[in-house]
């Protein structure tokens, strides 16, 4: 098990600044997922760790050793590629054993290890086949086997599940998680799929435009987003974000449309900026018929069976509320919204960051 550390890592491609100073510490044996929209620099970051991309500035340490100038093979990383990148002219066994062949292991030793890895991944009966004769899931497994056999210090995954169909993706996700629990290898996994990130990660790194927005456990990312970007990016349906101002005289939030939301003095940050964005998750709001809470007008309803997503307006701003499947909310009708003080999040619209309690 190895530790991985990134210190102020930067990457420029000519004029474009792709990675803007990333600091990250991955503990030995930890499974860290880098989550972000396409073009946020997450793949570039991974490729810099792998050694496939030169580092413009900063340093990368594996087991406390700076690896900036080392060749990929000397870094002790193994990588699983998005499109598998299997060697088309080699059999499954040769694919898996290639790294050992390059390392100069004898054929007998190689075969022994290949058998072991193939058994772990359920590939024993396919060892003599060529990659073109395998299904998507099997190819994925071969790619994993190729990485596993080297017993690397760090596993790197570059969106390895995005080429699979939805069902296979779920089962491969499970296999990766199980494999990690068994091998305990330090892993860095890049994806744009938040479900993958939430289910696989010990900790998630959310990236946007070359910078880290938040590093936290999936639970914390979901329940305590550190920025507007994280709040909006993670979770489906997304965060409800309402712009307005803070009225200190009556200790209330006043939306741009004039809707008032009184705040619990004990559970709100002591210093709030004058301009404010409040946010809450769709499932955190309760719809009631009466009371003095802010009004909510139902626009239309998406029925998902177990839950209903109610699209509507609060204070002329579009929001979405998740309710139980059996609740009846006719469109056009007005209701009151009840949101627990604990579920309200405050963001500064200028910096986009969370206002700390």
């Amino acid at each position: 098990m190895a530790s991985l550390e990134l210190k102020k890592v930067e990457k420029k491609f000519g004029q474009s600044h792709v990675v803007k100073g990333v600091d990250l510490v991955v503990e030995p044996g930890e499974f860290v997922v880098i989550l972000g929209p396409s073009g946020c620099g997450k793949s570039t970051l991974l490729r810099m760790v792998a050694g496939l991309e030169a580092i413009t500035a900063g340093s990368i340490l594996i087991n406390n050793r700076i690896v900036n100038e080392l060749e990929p093979r000397e870094r002790g990383c193994a990588m699983v590629f998005q499109n598998y990148a299997l060697y088309p002219h080699m059999s499954v066994a040769e694919n898996i054993g290639y790294a050992l062949k390059v390392a100069g292991l004898s054929k007998a030793d190689r075969d022994l290890k290949i058998r072991k890895v193939a058994q772990t991944l359920g590939l024993t009966e396919f060892l003599e086949r060529k990659p073109s004769q395998l299904s998507g899931g099997q190819r994925q497994r071969v790619a994993m086997g190729r990485a596993m056999i080297r017993e690397p210090a760090v596993f790197l995954y570059d969106e390895p599940l995005s080429n699979l169909d939805a069902k296979l993706r779920v089962s491969m996700r499970g296999e990766i998680r199980r494999l990690h629990q068994r091998l305990g290898t330090t892993s860095l996994f890049v994806t744009h799929d938040q479900i993958e990130a939430m289910t696989l990660a010990d900790r998630i790194v959310v990236m946007n435009e070359g910078k880290i927005e938040q590093i936290a456990t999936p639970h914390e990312i979901y329940n305590k987003p550190a920025s507007l970007f994280v709040a909006d990016f993670v979770g489906s349906p997304g965060f409800n974000l309402i712009e307005g101002v803070y009225d200190s005289s009556q200790h209330a939030f006043v939306g741009l449309g004039g809707g008032v939301l009184s705040l619990d003095r004990a559970k709100t940050p002591t210093t709030l900026p004058p301009r404010l964005i409040i946010g809450f998750r769709a499932e955190c709001a309760v719809v009631t018929g009466e009371g003095s809470d802010p009004s909510f007008r139902v626009d239309y309803i998406e029925d998902l069976g177990a839950t209903k997503h109610v699209q509507g307006f609060f204070d002329d701003q579009k929001i979405i509320i998740a309710v139980k499947g059996d609740e009846a909310l006719p469109s056009g009708s007005d209701f009151r919204l009840k949101i627990k003080a604990d579920d309200l999040h405050f963001f500064d619209p200028m910096s986009g960051r969370r206002v700390v309690q």
Binding site: A50, G51, L52, E71, P72, R73, C77, A78, M79, F81, Q82, N83, A85, L86, Y87, P88, H89, Y98, A99, V102, A103, K130, P131, S132, R146, R150
Partner: protein
């Protein structure tokens, strides 16, 4: 063809059959010619039915044209050119596609320019170089005055000479130096996905391992195609072997050049009746090796094309 209509099919076959006859008829006439006697072939009518003297004529052609030795020369030259070309193209294209170095584009364009300079255009300088491969260096030394300087100081006159005429090296080298194969390989290397290279790098393969264990096996079909084309190209060369092998008595020449000498003219047969039948038989013999190469390699590179998966 997507449409399937009987008329169209019929028309297609008709065109194909016509083409086949156009190609095969002259070959048939060569074969018929090679099986006739001198008297028969010199009658005015066109013969379409083979005679009975085929093996006689073949033997005569073989002996008179020294075809054993000539075919060996041709074979060495063609295999040499084809192999050299495949190796050199693969290496140059590998360098151009996979390495970033200063002057890469300059080298690329220099190679590109040679496409516009086939052997026939640069035959005179090529001959001069083949006559003395050190001639360019010697000229350079003369021009910058080094020859004179050394002569003055040491009293030794530098005279570099390496004659390539009447040698396999001289026959082969000038034909290897062309750009077509480099481009074929370059185009192929550009289609190899980057991830393959990256995965190989992660597995620890260096550049030469990648060339030997990835690019070479993956480009087997290309190699077969290029080898076949270059073999035929070299086999059919006439002008260069004619110039590069002046010493007929000792080194001999290639089979194709020898064919010309088999053709009856006043000088070759002393004004007797022209024995075209023997010349035709010689033709058939010389045609055979390229035919075998195409037959063998075609199967190989078509299999290569089918087996390629993306």
């Amino acid at each position: 063809m997507i449409e399937k209509t009987p008329y169209l099919n019929f028309a297609t076959y008709l065109v194909l059959a016509f083409g086949a006859v156009m190609v095969l008829l002259p070959l048939w006439m060569v074969f018929v010619g090679a099986s006739l006697t001198v008297r028969e072939i010199n009658t005015p009518e066109i013969h379409l039915i083979p005679g009975t003297h085929f093996f006689e004529n073949v033997m005569a052609a073989w002996q008179r044209g020294h075809l054993g030795g000539r075919l060996f020369n041709s074979l060495v030259m063609s295999v040499g050119v084809a192999t050299g070309k495949v190796v050199m193209s693969a290496i140059t294209a590998f360098g151009l596609v996979y390495f970033r170095f200063p002057g890469r584009m300059l080298i690329f364009w220099l190679i590109f320019i040679t496409l516009m300079l086939p052997l026939e255009v640069r035959i005179v300088p090529t001959y001069a170089v083949a006559a003395n491969a050190f001639w360019p260096i010697q000229t350079l030394l003369d021009v910058i005055g080094l020859t004179d300087a050394v002569d003055y100081i040491l009293g030794i006159r530098i005279g570099l000479e390496w004659n390539l005429l009447n040698s396999y090296t001289g026959l082969i080298l000038p034909l290897i130096a062309t750009a077509t194969g480099t481009f074929l390989y370059r185009q192929f290397f550009l289609t190899v996905p980057d991830e393959l290279l990256e995965a190989a790098r992660m597995d620890g393969a260096g550049p030469f391992r990648f060339l030997a264990e990835f690019l070479v096996p993956l480009s087997r079909a290309n190699m077969a195609a290029l080898f076949t084309i270059m073999f035929l190209y070299a086999w059919n060369q006439y002008l260069w072997p004619l110039l590069a092998t002046p010493d007929r008595a000792h080194f001999g020449t290639t089979a194709v050049v020898e064919l010309k000498l088999l053709a009856p003219t006043v000088s070759t047969n002393g004004g007797g009746t022209p024995d075209w039948n023997v010349a035709m038989a010689g033709c058939l013999i010389v045609m055979l090796p390229p035919l075998i190469v195409v037959a063998l390699m075609q199967r190989h590179f078509i299999r290569g094309l089918i087996a390629t998966e993306k």
